[in-house]
């Protein structure tokens, strides 16, 4: 509970003694590049393969002649939109971006760079962390959209190239009984996860004490805590919204 209280105070400190809008604008753009643009390749790669493998495995399990083949892509679509794109990618995002945020801030803390900001009269938490959270909120939902598209394309490629189903069957399955709310649900999840990962990782890094070893520990803790938060939030959001 003490840690949670400290986390809440940390979040509150982000919004006091702020710098100018232009300062945050520039920092947020830099973070968008670091967080978003530099993660695209990994997201495209992972989600394309994930879509392909999901198609193969679903096909392998639906062997009954009474089940039409387009159900394969239908299942792939539901899995991708509901879980794979927003949740599984969030775990990968926590590993890549969360650990980098935590490690970066932890290093700044132990090399007194954060103290240097404070001595200059700058609210270091707000200056360093707020742009990361805003950039994460902006970029992660976009990455989830990219991931969803890539997973469905990966499924299409694997499904058609292995002649598991025809292109027409795949497209039909993708469009069959489509519930638009699932897209909104995936995006709501992506916003929540983006906030949790950026804020928890920054919190862990910001309060690092010690040396290089502690920076590594803080990064590990950041990823672990983020993943636990993602899974809990995933459960509650599914319970509340579906």
């Amino acid at each position: 509970m003490k840690g949670f209280g400290k986390y809440m105070i940390f979040l509150g400190s982000l919004f006091v003694r702020r710098e100018t809008f232009m300062t945050y604008y520039k920092l947020t753009l830099e973070e968008c590049i670091n967080i978003g643009v530099k993660s695209i390749l990994l997201f495209v790669l992972v989600s394309t393969f994930m879509g392909g493998v999901t198609t193969l495995q679903t096909g392998a399990n639906l062997v009954s002649p009474f089940v039409p083949r387009f159900i394969i892509s239908n299942v792939v679509r539901e899995m991708t939109i509901l879980e794979l794109a927003p949740t599984i990618m969030a775990i990968i995002y926590a590993g890549k971006v969360g650990s980098s945020m935590s490690g970066g801030l932890g290093t700044m803390r132990i090399t007194e760079q954060i103290d240097a900001l404070e001595v200059m009269g700058i609210n270091a938490a707000s200056y360093l962390v707020l742009p990361k959270i805003i950039a994460s909120l902006m970029m992660y939902p976009l990455l989830v959209i990219v991931s969803g598209i890539c997973a469905l394309l990966g499924g299409y490629l694997v499904g058609t190239l292995t002649e598991l189903l025809t292109p027409t069957e795949y497209i039909y399955g993708i469009r069959y009984a489509f519930n638009e709310f699932f897209i909104s649900f995936a995006l709501i999840k992506s916003f929540v996860f983006a906030f949790l990962i950026a804020s928890i990782s920054s919190f862990k890094g910001y309060y690092t004490q010690g040396g290089a070893l502690e920076v590594g520990i803080a990064s590990t803790q950041a990823v672990t805590a983020s993943i636990i938060a993602i899974l809990l939030a995933d459960y509650f959001l599914a319970y509340l919204l579906l």
Partner: protein, 249 residues
Amino acid sequence: MIKINNISKSFGDKNVLDGISGEFVKGKTNLIIGASGTGKSVLLKCIVGLIQPDTGSVYYDLRNFTEADKEMKSEIRREIGMLFQGGALFDSKNVEENVMFPLNILTTMPASEKIERVNFCLQRVGLEGVNKKMPSEISGGMKKRVGIARAIVNNPNYLFCDEPNSGLDPQTSIVIDELIMEITHEFDITTIVVTHDMNSVMGIGESILFLYKGHKLWDGSNKDIMNSGVEELDAFVFTNKIMKSLKVG
């Protein structure tokens, strides 16, 4: 002038500072000296507000910093320049961006003026032509110089240096010490240097405060440190044969 009054600080059961009082004079290099673990850096951090003291107050030219609200603290901090032990340069910024950083954040100066000011400060600390180098590409001594340039770029009224010589060779240490003293005199600022280096003490110690196990045991200048009559200070000063021979002489 900076005045500290009855500063105490404990971490758990460990009493690190116990009722430290003193004055740090404007236009002089004021040194806080003592062996490792005596609370020098903690005292410096209490003075700049990075650590909140348990008791006591810090006054910046009669402005009570300890009791000040966040806005007031922020105002005072904008008059402070600080050189950290490791330089604390921002890794992601080059030398020019590091030195320009306080100007970008704290002023509305036009870009051309900022560059002019940065170049002046870099020239003042003896660094030219390194504007575009990254901190990882320069030596420890150069990092300290860049740190000093960043600390003075916004014309501070107060300059703090936390062990400016740590990790430097004796020659570079003297250069850094002299630079700090010259800047102090030239810009008439209140400078506080935390050190345990006797070369610094003898070279730039115009005003010295000696800490021993969290207590202030002595204050004076480098002129009278040899004859302080304080046993603990003598033990700190006369650690090697050369210094001991001076004492005997």
